[in-house]
Symmetry: C2
Subunit: 205 residues, 2 copies
Amino acid sequence: MGMRRRGQELEQAILKAAQDELLESGYAGLTMERVAKRAGTNKNALYRRWPHRAALGVAAYAELAATRTVIPDTGSLRGDVLALLRAANDHWSSPLGEILRGLLSAAGDDPELLSVLHARVSGGDSGAGMWQAVLRRAGIEVTPRVATVAMGLLRNEFVTRGTPHVPDDVLVEIVDEVYLPLVTGHLSSGAGRGRSAPAASAQER
Amino acid sequence: MGMRRRGQELEQAILKAAQDELLESGYAGLTMERVAKRAGTNKNALYRRWPHRAALGVAAYAELAATRTVIPDTGSLRGDVLALLRAANDHWSSPLGEILRGLLSAAGDDPELLSVLHARVSGGDSGAGMWQAVLRRAGIEVTPRVATVAMGLLRNEFVTRGTPHVPDDVLVEIVDEVYLPLVTGHLSSGAGRGRSAPAASAQER
DNA sequence: TTCCCTTAGGTACGGTACGTACCGTACCCT
DNA sequence: AGGGTACGGTACGTACCGTACCTAAGGGAA
């Protein structure tokens, strides 16, 4: 019987199968045997390409999560910042986020895999670039450390809580009690272009 | 042959054995069979008390890490804050910290176990209480959220990096770029009792 | 076309460790 | 005594990782 797949074609089939398994059962349910069977091949083909389960999991996830967050423009700095945090919060509690949590948990000691994962995540929600972009629109120029404070605190909430979804109150708290007070202290003198950054207003939800 | 241990006595022996295994081989090396053998009993006695490996691991760790951080008093707010961060950083990269990381990784989905772990950790290094105490000495009164910002950011660094030890530069950065600017904005008018909180001085290392 | 070399596919292991089942026996309590 | 409860011993069943070994396909070079 012909139709024996090779190289790229087989590799894609395996990755597709691995992704399906991830979406169905999470990383915990991703077993080499099931992926192999689902892809219509056997474990050999997998181990020829990835040294171990975690590597396959990361590769599959990386292809799955190749989405890029768009920088929001709500008209106010507060709105933009909240939008970024909410997007990250939603992603984290989405099916994809659950997979990511499993992977982080499993690859927690392998620095190489971790860097791949964080490269993925950084592009998605925590790169300093987008934060500085949002701040610059409000006439604020800060170091990367300061710019990403809000995201860092949110990520800390993810880790601390067991629950996947952080209540919106907490996001608002981070923004109003910490982030805006911090960055508005760095307001460049003559800038602002009509934007205001109220430190603690109850408006905008 | 008498001397059959029961109840508390046996339980303590098992926990002791589990702790020894944790210290020797980390959580990854903690197997039910080895613990049982080391405690001079068998797996039954273990499973009668803890539903699975992770629960035993958490219980053993909780008893092991029953240490309380003392609130530092270096004479300046900046010194106190840095001391707290450095203590947490050291703990995280210590043998105990490595065990904790393994446990967090393994119990990552079980909210009950996670809460036990975090209760332990909170008492150890992240409780809002000690942060507010240190701030109060400098005449600063803030919400728990603001008070614990530094610790939250440090914990975020732990997660983001693969490496167990965060460079001291980063701690200094968190303190000087974020934490002190943030909290000194909350200085109560007439207080201070001789303490100063320079936002970004190069002194004190 | 023919030959060969790379790579897929099949199957069976070895190894580890979790969690369970069963059974006999020591200890405690009444 | 006698019974209940817990311990100790041992053997499984299951799951899954990673590896070894062999056969077969199919593409490219001669």
